[in-house]
Symmetry: none
Subunit: 197 residues, 4 copies
DNA sequence: CGGTAACCGAGACGGTACGTCCGGTCTTGAT
DNA sequence: ATCAAGACCGGACGTACCGTCTCGGTTACCG
């Protein structure tokens, strides 16, 4: 999270220990029973060290999850573009489905997603570091599709993003049904073709 | 919530005072700082009286909100059906938009919606008393549309419900943009016609 | 200490456990390292239970020491009066010397005496429950001596109390020398006869 | 305090700033809330600089108070000796009364006196630098009085010092009554003449 | 119609965690 | 080597609530 003190003297050892402890604990006891006190104890750190650098337990967990995905960001600098929008979207959504079915990451991520609904600071951070960049990628891909006449010209691409990626996120967040490749495919097809068929 | 003890001797005075206190407090301090202790104090009730009849503060707030909407349920026993699916859906979504823009009800409702993501007991209760009945209404209307060839026959109606009502709920829950009548209309049109146009 | 809540529902079990824990701990680690947290843990009590009934760790220890001396108070309802003031005072001071040489009680008592110098609430309580009654006893004995012409009529009895009992307390509090029966005798004799002899 | 490192490179600027900060703060918040951290911050010094040269906050305050009284020590190299012991003692005790009624110095001094009761290192330092020299002065004066037959020959001069100067210190330390010139006179007279008169 | 059992208010209790303060140690870079 | 600055681990603070547990007082049903 955005640190108030100058981060120069920050101990990387402590930082790592804290993030690892947070990940371990959230796996063991779940987000609700995760506590800053517990993280500090597990990490062998003072509580103040956590409060100095993070504003909430959600922020710690966020950084911990970001640490896990470090390095992956660069490779996926662009969404796939084979020229076939429908196929490409299915590829992307199926990959997301696979990620979300990985409980090791998915459960803390769900907890974090919920926390974001409730904590504006965390929400801003998430938007800036994750949501916004991802949305740019999506918009870029859709824009090319629109230029290639695979999307109607009057479509608002922001709405398109919501329609394509929203259903998956909703099912995941609300646990409203199983996340399968078939479901991903259905969403893509239906959204592209419309309900009238 | 479904009471465990025989509800015979239950004091309606207390129940009302508790629900009102919960509503007042959630408006004053927000859901995060709402506490059972606070509700009891405000209501002039003992803590035990709350613990006897509700399993969590979320459950109290849920009942409190249900109390507010009592009576409305019957009138809307069916979604409008003028024969024009698109127009009917716009009517329904616009009405929802209006409700969600009422902060007096919307804010506690959001808090409750978030709690539901995290508390399975509450989730089950919500499904049974609100979500399930609402979904039946929606499915019934869509089924008639499908029979009238206004929806493609191969459409899975569960998916259709997600696509039509999901975006609005998502925008609301994630505060991802303004909820307007125009937005409602756009969603309905786009989902019905598909992105390809 | 003077309790704010109505003491009716107070748990005597907890009270005993807390006072015993305080005594044990002060013996083990000393007053400086005595902590309310530690007392609560040792007593198997919640911290709030201590904070509810006592304003400070000094107050807890005070009550604990008072508990130890309970029952003794009544028997010593009057200082000895054989008619020989000097002998009686020596008896009393020698007894005090013996008490103060008992480290089991003396060490916590010293710590408490120091705390009293610094905490006005504790000081008021000590005055009311210990100091004031003791002083009455002393004054009563001296008044009888003055009536019996064993003390000069112009002597201010408050000053006399200070001169007789002060030196012992000072030596004890400041650890300024050994406390012996001889010392007690010397003080009594010198104060009664004066330095000029 | 006696510095452990070789004091060669010691910054006098820092020393002054720290002692002044300590005095200021003890006046503003009292001894209990005085902290080394606070002193360092107020002095614009690092905490380490304090820990390097003083073993405790009491030691800092002690040095600070010594700094205030620097220069006075030499002039009073001897207690007054007009040949009239009673008059001389009254002079000395009255002067002490005046000092102790100066709250600017008296309050921190009281705090320090209390700390000395509890901290053996501080106590040793105080004895060496203040108490012992003062006692020598007192003993010297009393010895001359004893030689001049103004004190009985069998009097233990250590006890005499306790009896003469003790009551004043006790009243001051325990806040047991007002400190006045009359009180000083009464003590001197009563102790010299004895309670029997 | 009187007894009794559940309810109710009040709030004490053992706990857990909070967020803060400060102690005493340590590291860094500047003088 | 000392200094200002301040991060670090750790212990304790005093507070807020949790969920459980008496305690009397009051209904309201049932024998």
């Amino acid at each position: 999270m955005t640190p108030q003190p100058k981060a120069a003297r920050r101990s990387q050892t402590s930082r790592q220990a804290i993030l690892n402890a947070a990940l371990d604990l959230v796996g063991e006891v779940g987000y609700a029973r995760l506590s800053i006190e517990g993280i500090a104890a597990r990490a062998g750190a003072g509580k103040q060290t956590i409060y100095r650098w993070w504003p909430s337990k959600g922020a710690v967990l966020f950084d911990a999850l970001m640490m896990l995905t470090e390095g992956e960001d660069q490779e996926a600098a662009e969404l796939p573009d084979t020229g076939d929008l429908e196929a490409d979207l299915k590829t992307v959504l199926r990959a997301t489905v696979d990620e979300l079915n990985e409980p090791r990451y998915s459960e803390p991520m769900r907890a974090l997603a919920v926390e974001i609904l409730v904590d504006p600071v965390l929400a801003a951070d998430f938007t800036e570091r994750v949501d916004q960049p991802m949305k740019e990628l999506k918009l870029r891909r859709l824009r090319k599709a629109q230029e290639a006449r695979q999307l109607a010209p009057e479509i608002d691409l922001d709405v398109a993003v919501e329609l394509i990626w929203g259903p998956l996120r909703s099912r995941w967040l609300h646990r409203e049904g199983p996340l399968t490749h078939e479901y991903a495919d259905t969403i893509v097809e239906t959204v592209l073709n419309g309900l009238r068929g």
